[in-house]
């Protein structure tokens, strides 16, 4: 009889090529984008190597592309060169690419799942830290650097020191009006930005089971913001229903084989985790970040904290610096913080359910005259779906700008840069200094909260609006 194993352990074991420390793991799916791959392809070409498994590799463009006026081409010469390099590299190495004109183009972490490429039990890697998103399907998915991208291209394997296992047990039910984004911000506030370092998190409990796939992706996406190597959720009926019928999902007899394999991908009852955190979902409320890392958040009903609230001197200093960067004074009610920009999108919250949640809040209302608000769907497929539901009309009637898909203002590598000194309510994942543009001030929130802030011109408790 084998010892009880965690979900993570099972997926790990299934991919061992060489059982040593570190372990050589086989990679089932390698996602590629334009920013972290050119040097990897250049290295491959210089050493005369080839891509071992182009049929397990897929590319798209997302980080540097404009979200308006694409027919005019890419004006930024550096971004253009980077995107052209990816097009050429994919052509040279026979890699499937969802390019700028492809109706499947989008953020790599939105595209993989929606095309049915992301499946339970896979090892998925990408030169991007938010690869953790794919763990929502019970895959082991993690971000890698450019040297590792080259290694995976050449060998379809990766050396990994084995992470430890961590359970985040989410007890209770998520209250009405509280989003998956609020749950993951609450988890990060509890465990801290390095609470998951050297660990793979498995999110567990009824509240997790009750989440849709889009919501689970929001949770796993931000695992890296808690420092974790990856985040995972065991596949269940919700997962299987989501995958079935998608373009790259198994069909016919293969589908039945796949589903029966996926059913074993659960943590055994007696398996032991190296670390456990327990979170009470029933006490959660909508969160707003006030500082410059994703653990620096407060309930929307709260106020900007004082650095004196921190016992640890390093945390206190960090809070002082954060308040200075964010131009906030301790004690300021979150409701009193006015916003200049609202960004709805990203690999965290750029999926159809996110846009629906925001549209429900926006419907029949107008964006505050001082606010510039944009919606950037996570993929062109999400955009098409939203348009078929008429969501674009809701947003445009309210005064939102309706864009093409990409990473956009989440990291401001394209023209969607938030100007210095201006404040943005953002559904993205990082409120780091300069993340949305040098001097830009980011407040992380859920899609519904961002939508409400766009209408009101300042943060409000969206639960009061949705109740009305």
């Amino acid at each position: 009889m084998t010892a009880p194993r965690t979900l993570f352990q099972k997926v790990w074991d299934n991919h061992i090529v060489i059982d040593s420390d570190p372990t050589l793991l086989y990679v089932d799916l390698h996602l590629v984008h334009e920013v972290t791959s050119p040097q990897a392809f250049a290295g491959l070409n210089q050493s005369g190597r080839t891509v071992r498994r182009p049929d397990l590799t897929v590319a798209t463009v997302d980080h540097g592309i404009p979200t308006t006026g694409r027919s005019l081409g890419i004006r930024d010469p550096l971004s253009k060169k980077q995107i052209d390099a990816l097009v050429q590299n994919c052509k040279d190495h026979d890699i499937t690419m969802f390019g700028l004109d492809d109706p499947r183009q989008g953020i790599v972490h939105v595209v993989g799942p929606e095309q049915g490429l992301t499946q339970p039990g896979l090892v998925v890697v990408c030169g991007d830290s938010h690869t953790s998103t794919h763990g929502a399907f019970g895959a082991l998915a993690f971000g890698i650097g450019t040297t590792e991208v080259e290694h995976v291209l050449a060998t379809q394997t990766i050396w990994q020191a084995k992470p430890r296992s961590m359970a985040v047990e989410v007890e209770g039910e998520l209250p009405w009006g509280v989003a998956a984004k609020d749950l993951i911000l609450g988890i990060i506030a509890q465990i801290g930005v390095s609470g998951g370092t050297r660990h793979v998190i498995e999110y567990r409990g009824q509240a997790i089971h009750d989440l849709s796939m889009e919501q689970r992706m929001t949770i796993c996406n931000m695992s890296i913001e808690g420092g974790a190597r990856a985040g995972m959720i065991a596949p269940d009926e919700t997962t299987i229903r989501y995958i079935e019928g998608r373009p790259f999902a198994p069909k016919g007899a293969r589908w039945d084989e796949a589903v029966s394999a996926w059913e074993s991908l659960v943590t055994d009852p007696d398996a032991v985790f190296d670390k456990v955190a327990v979170v009470d979902a029933s006490r959660l409320v909508p969160h707003v970040s006030w500082g410059v890392n994703p653990a620096q958040t407060v309930p929307v009903t709260g106020a900007v904290p004082s650095p004196d609230a921190y016992d640890d001197p390093q945390q206190r200093d960090a809070a002082v610096r954060a308040l200075e960067y964010m131009a906030l004074r301790p004690g300021t009610p979150i409701f009193d913080i006015a916003v200049d920009h609202v960004f709805l999108g990203s690999c965290t919250n750029g999926r159809i359910e996110d846009l629906r949640a925001a549209a429900r809040v926006v419907d029949g209302r107008k964006v505050d005259s001082h606010v510039s608000a944009v919606v950037v769907p996570g993929s062109m497929q999400v955009k098409a779906q939203a348009e078929s539901e008429g969501l674009h009309e809701v947003f445009e009637a309210a005064g939102f700008s309706w864009r093409d898909a990409g990473c956009s203002s989440c990291l401001a590598m394209n023209p969607d840069v938030i100007p210095a000194g201006e404040r943005c309510a953002s559904t993205s994942n990082r409120n780091y200094e300069g993340r949305q543009g040098r001097g830009a001030r980011t407040h992380l929130v859920s899609p519904a909260m961002a939508a409400a802030a766009a209408i009101a011109g300042h943060f409000v408790d969206v639960r009061e609006w949705e109740g009305s």
């Binding site: 420390d21 980077q82 896979l122 040297t147 590792e148 930005v193 390095s194 890392n293 990291l411 040098r438």
Partner: protein, 204 residues
């Protein structure tokens, strides 16, 4: 990659925690397709004023620190984005090592592939080094073979992944080493279930 064995040099203290890779090298410098030329953009937003002039109060711009080889900094260094441009920028500015109480996972991995030595020491040892480093001429020595850090009045052992150590000491090309195991990769490959996805377009 050049082999890394032992480093002796002066230190630069950066006494703050949770320094993310967006700070180490901001996104506007990630658009290039080359591997070099990132040194001048290290900590760009902290090192420059809004009009692009060097910020005189940021330690990186202190002429007495220009020769620093070891960055001594707070915990959770290199968190956030997976950009390998972060270790590239540190290295290309002139750093050969980073000493911290803890490094973020992806940053630690990336550094081990490019020859930037990331040493994790207990916080009290890091604090003592940061104190020592107020003197810009104070030196620290890191010996990878024996996994030891020495400085005035301090000698600390550090843990290090044995494979990363081997790679750094020899400077060997990791891909070449892995390709030497082609038989094992192929046999794993042949045993994979046939229902697993491929990215090849199938016309329906």
């Amino acid at each position: 990659m050049k082999p890394v064995t032992a480093i002796t040099g002066t230190m630069m203290p950066l006494d703050r925690g949770d320094v993310d890779t967006d700070q180490i090298i901001p996104q506007q410098f990630l658009k290039r397709i080359e591997r070099d030329g990132y040194g001048e953009f290290l900590f760009y937003n902290w090192a420059h004023t809004d009009d692009g002039a060097p910020s005189s109060d940021f330690i990186l711009n202190d002429p007495a620190r220009r020769g620093a080889r070891v960055l001594v900094t707070g915990p959770n260094f290199g968190c956030g984005s997976s950009r390998e441009h972060a270790p590239w920028a540190l290295q290309q500015w002139g750093f050969e090592a980073v000493i911290t109480a803890s490094a973020a996972d992806i940053f630690r991995n990336n550094s081990s592939y490019v020859g930037l030595l990331v040493v994790e020491l207990p916080q009290d040892a890091v604090t003592r080094l940061i104190d020592l480093a107020t003197d810009p001429t104070a030196e620290v020595s890191i010996d990878l073979e024996s996994q030891t850090v020495t400085a005035d009045g301090l000698e600390e052992h550090f843990d290090f992944n044995p494979t990363a150590k081997e790679r750094l000491l020899t400077g060997l090309d990791g891909i070449g080493v892995t390709m030497g195991h082609d038989d094992l990769i192929s046999s794993h490959e042949e045993a994979r279930p046939s229902w697993l996805p491929t990215t090849v377009e199938v016309s329906s």
